[in-house]
């Protein structure tokens, strides 16, 4: 690899600074004791402590987690099955192309259109059942809808890298279909499934648009809460909350990275 030109180095560092400047700003103001002013008045952890006393925020955090966990579990199961279905069976070229398009729709559709479509769908379904009133169930359904595709794509690429060799070897060594699935395919797919699940989980935590369109009064999530609060005016408490969310993201990303690299060895 060639040595980098100083201009490239400085441009790159400035770009990184540009990405992180706002986040650092939030982190710094989350420990600034000034409540209204943006001038530095001293270090404090009070805003963090206040967060944990705010029952509404605790409830909101719990909602966020519940939404992410439930949708991730369902999407991971459905997405993994879809990936196996696509990768391990002799589909014709046409069928393969169709499945491929279907999987990519949620990835390339602007989320706001997906949200609009879901609003309409739930509006129609409400005629049949109260379950489809705006709220947690709708949000979970919405999140699963875009998560499935991402999980399926990640697991499918993992499956493609496994190849048919080991499967044939296992059958050659007298394994039944079920035994092949349990002892060979599932363990070998697992890193892909875990990676897909982590992706789905992060996507859910990250989502704002779908939740914004489908939530009800009792199903506020952290991004929705922060958005609503910010529109009223930023407070140090929000900075503290945001910093915590960013820190959790960092932990998740680094954890996923570690996990991914360990499996590669």
């Amino acid at each position: 690899m060639k040595a980098t030109h100083p201009v490239i180095t400085s441009l790159a560092t400035m770009t990184m600074g540009f990405l992180y400047l706002p986040l650092f700003g939030v982190a710094i103001y989350s420990v600034n004791s000034a409540e209204k002013s943006l001038l530095w008045e001293g270090f404090t952890f009070n805003w963090y402590l206040q967060l944990f006393e705010n029952e509404w925020i605790i409830q909101t955090a719990w909602n966020t987690l519940k939404l992410a966990l439930v949708s991730t579990v369902i999407a991971t199961i459905l997405g993994t099955l879809v990936a196996i279905g696509i990768n391990r069976f002799p589909w014709s070229r046409k069928a393969n192309a169709f499945l491929d398009v279907l999987l990519h729709i949620p990835v390339v559709t602007p989320d706001i259109i997906m949200a609009g479509a879901l609003v309409v769908a739930f509006g129609a379904l409400r005629a049949f059942s109260d379950v489809f009133e705006p709220g947690m169930v709708n949000m979970i359904i919405g999140h699963i809808t875009f998560q499935i595709a991402f999980v399926a794509l990640v697991v499918r690429s993992r499956l493609a890298s496994i190849g048919h060799d080991v499967e044939e070897a296992a059958r050659d060594l007298f394994a039944s279909n079920w035994y092949v699935m349990r002892r060979i395919m599932l363990p070998l797919m697992l890193p892909g499934v875990v990676a897909g699940a982590m992706l789905a989980f992060t996507l859910s935590l990250d989502d704002f648009v779908l939740s914004f369109f489908t939530s009800g009064p009792d199903s506020q999530t952290l991004p929705l809460y922060i958005y609503a609060a910010v529109r009223k005016g930023v407070t140090p408490e929000i900075h503290a909350l945001s910093t915590l969310v960013v820190l959790i993201t960092v932990v998740l990303v680094v954890g996923a990275e570690r996990l991914g690299r360990k499996k590669e060895i």
């Binding site: 279905g85 729709i105 559709t109 602007p110 499967e167 296992a170 969310v245 960013v246």
Partner: protein, 302 residues
Amino acid sequence: MGKKLIIWHGDLTSRRALIQRGLTFLSGGMLWLMLFLVIPSLVLVALSFASRGSYGEVIWNFTVENYERLMGFSAFGWTPDYLYILGRSVVVAFLTTLISVILAFPLSFFIASRPPRTRYLWLTLVIVPFWTNMVIRAYAWFLILAPELPFAKLAATLGLVPEGAALYPSVFAVYLGMVSMFLPFVVLPLYSSVERLDWSLVEAAQDLYSSRSRVFFKAILPQTMPGLSVGVVLTFVPAMGTFVVPDLLGGAKYMLVGNLIQQQFGASRDWPFGAAVSMALMVLTMISLQLYRRRGEEIELL
């Protein structure tokens, strides 16, 4: 093929049984996508030809009035407001993508030239904002652009904004927010192409061409096209439909198509018009990507 027996990777079965088993695996997820994605999208298409009743309910009469309204025609004559919003969205998405690409190149080269140990650290540093919540990243600019901070003060000294005013909401803030939002979407795929770059070709080009720009366009750009294309699509599509950034950083003055759609499905409760705007967004996105694909091929052919 019917009942003809085959052996599929050591498993004796018939083609039909195999297809049936495959469909069983697919059924759950595919049914889900059909029910909550494909059918609702089709309903959205139909809805764009319906009209809104006086209480926000949908009246199923086939009409193109939503599209006429989008084009600016109404009972009160012609106004280009909605067309402005559409055009502005394309321009914002285009410029955001362009600026992100320009910034992504030095960054990708920089990361690719790091020793392997620190390379992962730098990559992780790009991935973290990628996964950080949009709302947080958008509102974080409030702090940087606040009137108390040097940036706003500098702008005030230069006479760009009145004394004591924040730099948001403004067009500038929207671009700042948009680029910081979507930059990682370009860097990550571009980096994967830069990492695999064949430097011998670049050196050969350096022998052939005297100017640096020609070396870049003839030797580097074509090689990084695969990653760059993914990055452009990943940026342009969501940038077209974004509504958080313009909503927080642009205020009411700088509405984009995403905000318009959100209004129709939210406060205005005019689903048919919202559906029509969604269709317009989808079509604009597709056309832009198609144009880009054609341009992209030209670049590769050069």
